[in-house]
Symmetry: C2
Subunit: 397 residues, 2 copies
């Protein structure tokens, strides 16, 4: 592994940082003189946005779909992940012939700023110090993430996106796009999301952050230079979060009280139960692919999200005069972003006479349902996109 | 602070261990030649059971009520806690004129074995080594806790308890008493509990244990001698658990997205939101009163609880031929031990034609409702106890 001039090779032992400086995907660099003004009033510069594209932009640049990823997602939505080697996180929804059909659409998926897959984040080099930002990285918001994406879309020469699609925190970005850049969004598809982060969700995030920060290997955020990784803390954070991504029913069906490779309990603190073994595995593999500081910053951005508060306390104001067509999707067993949160979005859209369809998908898979094979969900997305594309006059391939 | 002969003063800096060796309450010591046979097949000896009593045992010894405490409870149900100085955890339910009326009943509340308030647990001295047990303490079960209580009841010369009452893990002990010592239990009142620990509940416990074990100050369980306390780990464990004790609605009502003593977010990792500040406080005060190893052992005992599995996979078998009168109580917003778990208990009791009443209390307070002022809950307990006492011919004072 060689190092480009002016680049430091930071903590090469950690696979989770292997994409920070030179991502395998495309990347656009915005120079010192083209800073991103953040909601905290700081300027981020220079900054990079790493992104993947699938399919081809048509001649009138009308077939672009932007995918917004969730907390621990990345730009590799529909192709192999360069860190894990596993298929992209939305490969079931996005691809040739899939509901988001890459034979018809030009699909763009950027890594969010604050992330660790090539867009500027806390593991990136702070030009002021020549060292990784660590806790000197500014606290960002969902709005900041979207503004960085706007810069990418400008760079790609796209005036209006045919659709912006995302689940969970991706859905927050979709709502922010629709609210702040309405004219550039023909369709918005917020999935399994909410217009604000609830008290319970903030609480779970705070547990995760405290777990990371309690790990001595976190080194107050400066672990990169020490060649350390707060493995244990980040792993505990992921374990706690992972429970919230599944429904109680899904856990019951998948694991119940089944023991892990043993006939009886061992009267010890070993992973006697399958669910313990599963969670430990989730924690440990997550640490191998994700940066702990990114986890802190991104959870914080989600906590801060409150679209109504940004519009005088009235959510409908966020969408006043919108021409965007909305398709809001929730899942019955999602207790992290329950259907009632989606209804609040729909009510706000109705209050401004927006064009909105709303589908609650029957599923026992919990919040993670939006990442899984759910035929009714896929049919909903396919139907909405095809109808909107037909109306818009986007030619089928 | 002086040390009795043969006793070591262990980690005196930690208030959480101040009651381990010489509890402020009554305590009965069972000698080396009277061991407790544990479910893991080890013998625990000597062992102690620390307990509080309230009220007076009547002449025919028929008015005794046993209270079983929950995970982080103790024997100080209706009187000030010697560690925190706060009122007892069930002072609203138990006391003179209260639903569990100490003017009429002799109320006994033992600290469970595995605890840290004077009953033998991992912080107690291992007679084989002269040092605290730490991880050499055997992994115990709900059945073991109950068997230690049986020894206490024998010691007090009580043949049959008028009632056994407990919520959460206390309710598991109630069920175990009713199943394994049926003839000694006239009434059983299991509250906000289940006959087995669910996959999701095991998962949350495992997160908590991993948080404790990830703390370097845990020292593989041997922190006592090092004068250390795994503060951060135990605090994170408590924070995660605490979320599960409240309902989403309770968190929303209590905190919502209200900021903590500030007009706007600080773009930092400070406790901007009240809910963060509250959780941090919960974590930190818990560490001051509870032993980390006790937390590991008691959560494990709960995970292992599965009353049906102990009876050939059929819960009804646990109660076959029972003469005990049951009052099963659940709370609508309890998602840790939801009403459907109580229904399974009721169905099993119905299947053996047991005398059972079941009340689901409307409450938005979540699992913790059983510790709070809930008039309908109190009326239920008072009514059930009074009617059963009248039928049993226990004189009113």
């Amino acid at each position: 592994m060689s190092t480009a001039p002016g680049e430091k090779l930071i903590n090469p032992a950690s696979a989770s940082l292997s994409e920070v400086h030179r991502p395998s995907s495309q990347v656009v660099h915005f120079a010192e003189d083209a800073p991103l003004r953040l909601d905290c009033d700081q300027l981020l510069s220079p900054f990079s946005v790493a992104y993947q594209t699938y399919g081809k932009l048509n001649a009138d640049r009308s077939n672009a779909i932007l995918l917004c990823h969730a907390l621990t997602g990345d730009q590799h939505a529909a192709s192999a992940n360069p860190v894990t080697g596993k298929p992209g996180w939305w490969v079931s929804l996005v691809g040739p012939g899939r509901p988001v059909d890459t034979n018809r659409f030009f699909v763009i998926c950027p890594n969010i700023i604050g992330g660790c897959m090539g867009s500027t984040g806390p593991a990136s080099i702070n030009p002021r110090t020549g060292e990784p930002y660590g806790l000197d990285f500014p606290v960002i918001t969902i709005g900041d993430m979207v503004n960085a994406q706007v810069r990418l879309i400008d760079h790609l020469g796209i005036d209006q996106l045919f659709a912006v699609v995302g689940g969970s925190m991706g859905g927050m970005q979709v709502l922010e796009w629709a609210a702040s850049h309405s004219k550039r969004v023909h369709c918005a598809i917020p999935i399994a999301t909410a217009a604000y982060h609830s008290s319970q969700n903030i609480a779970f995030h705070e547990v995760g952050r405290q777990a990371v920060m309690a790990d001595p290997d976190w080194c107050r955020g400066a672990y990169y230079a020490e060649g350390k990784v707060p493995r244990n803390g980040l792993s505990v954070a992921r374990m706690a979060a992972h429970i919230t991504y599944l429904s109680e029913e899904a856990l019951h069906k998948k694991f119940g009280r089944t023991l892990q490779d043993r006939a009886r309990v061992t009267f010890s603190f070993n992973a006697d139960f399958q669910v313990e073994s599963y969670l430990r595995h989730q924690g440990s593999t997550f640490v191998d692919r994700f940066d702990a500081n990114s986890y802190l910053y991104i959870t914080r951005a989600m906590d801060y999200f409150d679209l109504a508060a940004e519009h005088g306390g009235v959510l409908a104001n966020a969408f006043k005069g919108t021409q965007t067509r909305f398709c809001v999707v929730s899942f019955t067993s999602d207790w992290l972003y329950p259907t009632r949160e989606s209804r609040l979005i729909v009510h706000a859209l109705n209050a401004v006479a927006a064009n909105v369809s709303f589908v609650e998908i029957e599923s026992d898979k919990g919040h993670d349902a939006f990442l899984l094979e759910e035929p009714e969900f896929f049919a909903t997305i396919r139907g909405f996109i095809n109808a909107a594309a037909a109306k818009r006059g986007i030619a089928t391939a």
